[in-house]
Amino acid sequence: MADMRTPLNKVRGLGSARGGTEHFWRQRLTAVSNIPLIIFFIGFVAAYSGSSYEEIRAALAQPVNALLLGLAFVSVLYHMRLGMQVIIEDYVHHEGWKIGLILLNTFFPIIVGAIALYSLLRIAFGG
């Protein structure tokens, strides 16, 4: 049976970008999760700046440190991807460039996240 919904009903609440308020909400969600995670991250960097190879590896092998740093990377990378997308959409008006940069904007956080999580796991599991 054909879709009985009117065209207006289909798009209601989704807006012209078909994404609704999801982008806005996730930006706020990750902004809130970033706050405690970044405070921890800054504290960690300040506390271990200038430490030796052994001290840093012992600290990073602690489950609490590894988990919180891993979560900090995931939360921050998601947040920064959303933010950069808005900047690209605001300033890049050429369609080809815009699509290309939005693709790169997805790849970059994933690559940074892969490097960070691989490193944390390798240290945590004593590689």
């Binding site: 706020r28 902004a31 809130v32 970033n34 706050i35 970044i38 800054i42 504290g43 960097v45 300040a46 506390a47 700046s49 200038g50 190879y53 840093i56 590896r57 990073l60 740093l69 990377f73 921050v76 990378l77 920064m80 933010g83 950069m84 900047i87 970059f108 940074v112 996240g113 490097i115 960070a116 691989y118 490193s119 944390l120 390798r122 240290i123 590689g127």
Partner: protein, 134 residues
């Protein structure tokens, strides 16, 4: 497309026509700091990668971070990060429909700048006091 849409249309006033205000400066700063943090996080991922590698790899990367230029970058990065976080908290306050009045938002913008400098100095001052050096 009809002819009327291809003719030059009047443009709305852009940034440079308005008087410069603290809220405007902090709004621009929020985007600039966000962009700097976006690329800067790669440095920390590479630092972790070095820590996951051999002692030689770690000492090489840690040596770069510990150099004068490296320390300036880390200090600057922490200030930019705190500035962006305080700016973000300001946005979260605005999301609750508070602090939007002209005078309040102006004060919040100035507090954002002064607060970011103070918090950065307190953090590194604290780290210096506890560890006896940076």
């Amino acid at each position: 497309m009809s002819k009327s849409t291809t003719q030059a249309r009047p443009l709305s006033p852009h940034l440079q026509i308005y008087r410069f205000t603290p809220t405007m400066a902090m709004s621009i700063a929020h985007r600039i700091t966000g962009t700097a943090l976006y690329f800067g996080i790669l440095l920390f991922a590479l630092w972790l990668l070095a820590a996951a590698g051999s002692r030689e790899q770690f000492d090489f990367v840690n040596g770069l971070f510990g150099s004068i230029i490296g320390r300036i970058i880390i200090f600057g990065y922490s200030w930019v990060l705190i500035h962006h976080m305080l700016g973000g908290i300001r946005h979260l306050i605005w999301d609750t429909i508070h602090g939007l009045e002209k005078e309040t938002s102006r004060r919040l913008a100035i507090a954002n700048l002064i607060g970011s400098i103070l918090v950065t100095l307190i953090i590194w001052g604290g780290a210096w006091a506890i560890r006896g050096g940076l």
